[in-house]
């Protein structure tokens, strides 16, 4: 990579950031969506997953259980399940990763837009290496997604008392790497599917299962085995596990998982998809 390639990386980061700043609606929608999840799921299920709401007054009189003891047991059950924190903390820390994950696929959409609106040709005819151009673009989008996640994490400080502020940078690093990888995947898909409809269809088919089989909404431990297996192959799982670990100190993964292993797996995933996106963009021509 020579000086001009670095310049090209910088120019594409600049472009993606400038576009992001100028499209307020996108910022709003990317932040509002997780916010809705947090409010609707977090408050709704949060109340169910809490022992405080067990109403003993309607129980038949032959049930001889000390209500306090029961609440203690149930409460312990749930906190163990969610790694030692309440549900809303569990959910919002997963949501930080999910926001960046969902945002990553917008990069793919923007490549298709650029194809249709012609800007892609401008980048294809530039003397800077294609690899640096696409890498700059991925970096720019990953930075934007990480900023979105930062907003969610800052929000989590308001709704939850168990967030470790000092863990935030480490958590963001996991999220950034994961987002870079999925950005690469999104771009690779967009270079294969030139129609917006085709791309959207694939992305919808992909994101929904990945989102639910990652530990964002419910723990991996209680999943059926087949689901666990899929989750193991889902890179988002490791970003959720790792970033949640740094934010709350909890271990909500399967027994073999640990933050270092998460980092290693995410790095491998991201390296692979960065290379794939680069190769595909290198080959891109006006013929497809």
């Amino acid at each position: 990579m020579d000086d001009r390639d670095l310049n090209a990386v910088a120019s594409m980061i600049y472009r993606q950031l400038k576009r992001w700043i100028s499209s307020r609606s996108r910022i709003v929608s990317v932040i509002v969506q997780p916010l809705l999840w947090i409010i609707l799921l977090g408050l709704g299920f949060g109340a169910i997953f809490s022992a405080q709401n067990i109403d003993t007054s309607t129980w038949p009189s032959f049930v001889k259980i000390n209500p306090e003891l029961l609440k203690n047991i149930v409460s312990k059950y749930f906190t163990t399940l969610f790694g030692g924190v309440d549900y809303i903390t569990y959910l919002i820390t997963g949501m930080a990763s999910m926001t960046a994950f969902m945002g990553s696929f917008i990069s793919g959409i923007s490549v298709i837009w650029d194809k249709q609106f012609g800007f892609l040709k401008e980048t294809l005819v530039a003397p800077a290496s294609r690899r640096s151009i696409i890498f700059g673009r991925m970096l720019g989008d990953a930075i934007i997604n990480t900023i979105h996640s930062t907003a969610i994490i800052l929000l989590s400080l308001l709704v939850s008392g168990s967030i470790n502020i000092w863990g935030i940078p480490a958590a963001l690093a996991y999220i950034f790497i994961m987002s870079l990888g999925f950005t690469g995947l999104g771009i690779a898909l967009s270079l294969r599917f030139s129609s917006m409809e085709g791309f959207q269809m694939i992305v919808n088919l992909l994101t929904m299962p990945l989102m639910f089989m990652s530990g964002v909404f419910y723990p991996l431990k209680t999943m059926p085995d087949w689901m666990k297996t899929i989750a193991l192959f889902n890179p988002l799982t490791y970003a959720v596990h790792g970033s949640r670990y740094w934010l709350t100190g909890t271990d909500t993964g399967l027994s073999f998982m640990n933050p270092l292993l998460d980092l290693a797996i995410l790095s491998i995933f991201t390296t692979i998809f960065t290379i794939i996106a680069m190769i595909l963009f290198d080959r891109a021509s006006l013929e497809d």
Binding site: R4, Y14, R19, G118, S285, L286
Partner: protein, 331 residues
């Protein structure tokens, strides 16, 4: 790397898209400081040719060099040398004019103060300086085109490629863009390759023209050479005097005949050059010239002559009479 004087060398270029032959074995060269025009109707293969020269498409066969570099094997070098304005828009509408320029500059390795100054200079050149911080999506078609031209000049290309630079623009904007192109050639010694299907545009700007049709180059030369294929200009005179003896005196005329009472038509190679002599002969033969006009064949007639079809969408309308005349005489 191949050393040569020509900035563009195209040798036996063929490009197929599946079963479509878009470019069918064409060869041409462009010398430095030339304005070379590729003229042809829709689907002739102009854009395909240009995209191959600009390294965006690979030739099916044949070789293309820009500044001595092979467009396939040394594409990066070629990309450094060229600036291109595509037929279809290629700006980022979400960004300002300045940012579009800035990103382009960075992609071509410019930076800092130098980049900023060049951006302002070029925006000034295309008269868009006061719109520098306006988003491109609020620009008119003509403004976008001018911005694209400014952008393509930012890295000081050796070869400027303009694909249909004035398509869809109003006459004032076309004239403005023509002026920029002439100025680039005059002040900056730029070599320009332009495609168009407006024959007046090719005639107005190009020093050399290749006429393309169905993927083939069917004629090539300076506008004058091309028009000479139709063998000359027609001079129309209204006069009083001895027409027959006057006609006999015109040794340079290929043909001289009476077409109406007092009206003659003289076919010559180059009307402006022979007119003074013609006046002199009239004077010494006591012939009084009351009216004079001449018509030069346009590229439209050349295209018609070569293909039997007309280049449509021309701005300049050719009179029907003359067309009928040409069919009779030059085919």
């Amino acid at each position: 790397m191949k050393l040569m004087d020509e900035i563009v060398v195209v040798e036996n270029l063929v490009k197929n898209f599946k079963d479509i032959v878009a470019v069918d074995n064409i060869s041409f060269t462009i010398g430095r400081r030339e304005i070379f025009g590729l003229l042809g109707p829709n689907g002739a293969g102009k854009t395909t040719t240009i995209h191959i020269i600009a390294t965006l498409l690979k030739p099916t066969s044949g070789r293309v060099f820009v500044s001595g570099y092979n467009v396939v094997e040394e594409s990066k070098r070629v990309r450094e040398k060229i600036g291109i304005v595509f037929q279809d828009p290629s700006l980022d509408n979400q960004l300002t004019a300045y940012d579009n320029m800035y990103i382009h500059g960075k992609l071509y390795g410019l930076k800092g103060r130098e980049l900023h100054d060049k951006i302002m200079e070029l925006l000034d050149f295309v008269e868009l300086k006061q719109f520098a911080s306006k988003k491109v999506r609020y620009f008119s078609g003509g403004m976008r085109r001018r911005l694209e031209i400014a952008r393509s000049l930012l890295h000081e290309p050796e070869l400027l490629i303009l694909d249909e630079p004035t398509i869809g623009l109003d006459p004032q904007t076309r004239a403005r863009i023509w002026n920029y192109i002439r100025e680039l050639r005059r002040e900056y010694d730029m070599t320009i390759l332009l495609t168009t299907h407006y024959m007046d545009e090719a005639e107005e700007l190009a020093s050399r023209i290749a006429i393309m049709d169905h993927g083939k180059i069917i004629a090539m030369g300076t506008p004058d050479e091309l028009k000479a294929m139709l063998r000359g200009d027609a001079i129309y005179l209204v006069l009083r005097g001895d027409i027959d003896s006057f006609c006999r005196e015109l040794s340079f005329a290929r043909e001289c005949r009476k077409i109406a009472e007092n009206r003659i038509e003289v076919l010559v190679d180059n009307a402006p050059k022979v007119l003074p002599e013609l006046f002199n002969i009239a004077l010494s033969n006591n012939v009084v010239i009351q009216e004079v006009s001449y018509r030069r064949p346009t590229l439209n007639e050349v295209f018609l002559h070569l293909t039997g079809r007309e280049l449509r969408e021309t701005i300049e309308e050719t009179p029907v009479i003359r067309r009928a005349y040409m069919r009779r005489h030059w085919r």
